[in-house]
Amino acid sequence: MGDSRSFLDFSGQWVVVTGASSGLGRAIAVELARHGARVVLVGRNEGRLSETASQLGNADHRVLVLDLARHDAIAAEVIRLRQDVGPLYGMCHAAGIVETRPLATNTIGVVQAQLNVNLLAGLELARTVCRRDVMMSDGGSLLFVSSVYGRVGMPGQTGYCATKGAIASAVRAMAIELARRRIRVNCISPGLVLTEMTKQSLGVLSPEHVEKLKAAHPLGIGEPEDVARAAVFLLAPGTRWITGADLAVDGGFTAQ
């Protein structure tokens, strides 16, 4: 970029953000809009998506109510979206579910439910967004939200850890495959950020355990905006030489 625009300027390009009804997805969508992106807000709850939309200022956007566990619906919706708004620049898969379960009760069904949203929905979305007749012809950028728990273990999180580790591996494969089309693929691995989802999973732990977790982050607990800024950095058109990366955004948690 040889001009005076910021390297974080999205110049009106369209980015699909899943999990946009709350938490990290909402924060990412808002931060993208602040940097000139047009965003498609994807989630299950129309009311909460509208709340996110109200935080986008004057940024052009679309709201797409979609249950990502319904994989067979994803492709058709993306194609319809492309027909509506034109070529897409990229996506951020921030939707995710967590179910804290000791291994003894971690049945296939429990793991599958997390896989369906955390990994498989993201892959299906990427498959469709990257179609040559959907994505911009000069390349784009995909971002997946993994987790520090894709790198380190945590009791009660076997399913969640498995899905987040799988995301990081899939990202590397996609990055290499799609580089020829100038499509970058990265993930971020957030540490403990207080969102509705993390409050829920912390709620089943003992207070002592929760305090230990908080204390394990050298820079303290994160805010959704901390992760959103990193997400925008990796998605931005100007960070064109970063692909296949897994950026820990965790206040130093995994550096120990």
Binding site: R131, R132, D133, V134, E177, R180
Partner: protein, 80 residues
Amino acid sequence: MNTHDALTWIAEVFEEPPGQITIETKREQILGWDSLGTLSLIAGLDERFDIHLSEKDIDGMQRVSDILDILRRNGKLEDA
């Protein structure tokens, strides 16, 4: 399947707009027909038509007409 539908299907495999693919289109004219595109084509022929390609078939596919020939030889293409 007739030729028009086959061309539409081939366009879909390579993610080209319908109408961009004709019988005369060469492999090098289709952006999506690289090595990975060939894998998509092989998978599509298998899943949609139950056609399994030999190495000779794969090496010989250099034009859209070659794909149509494969469909025809396997009884999947109705000639006009």
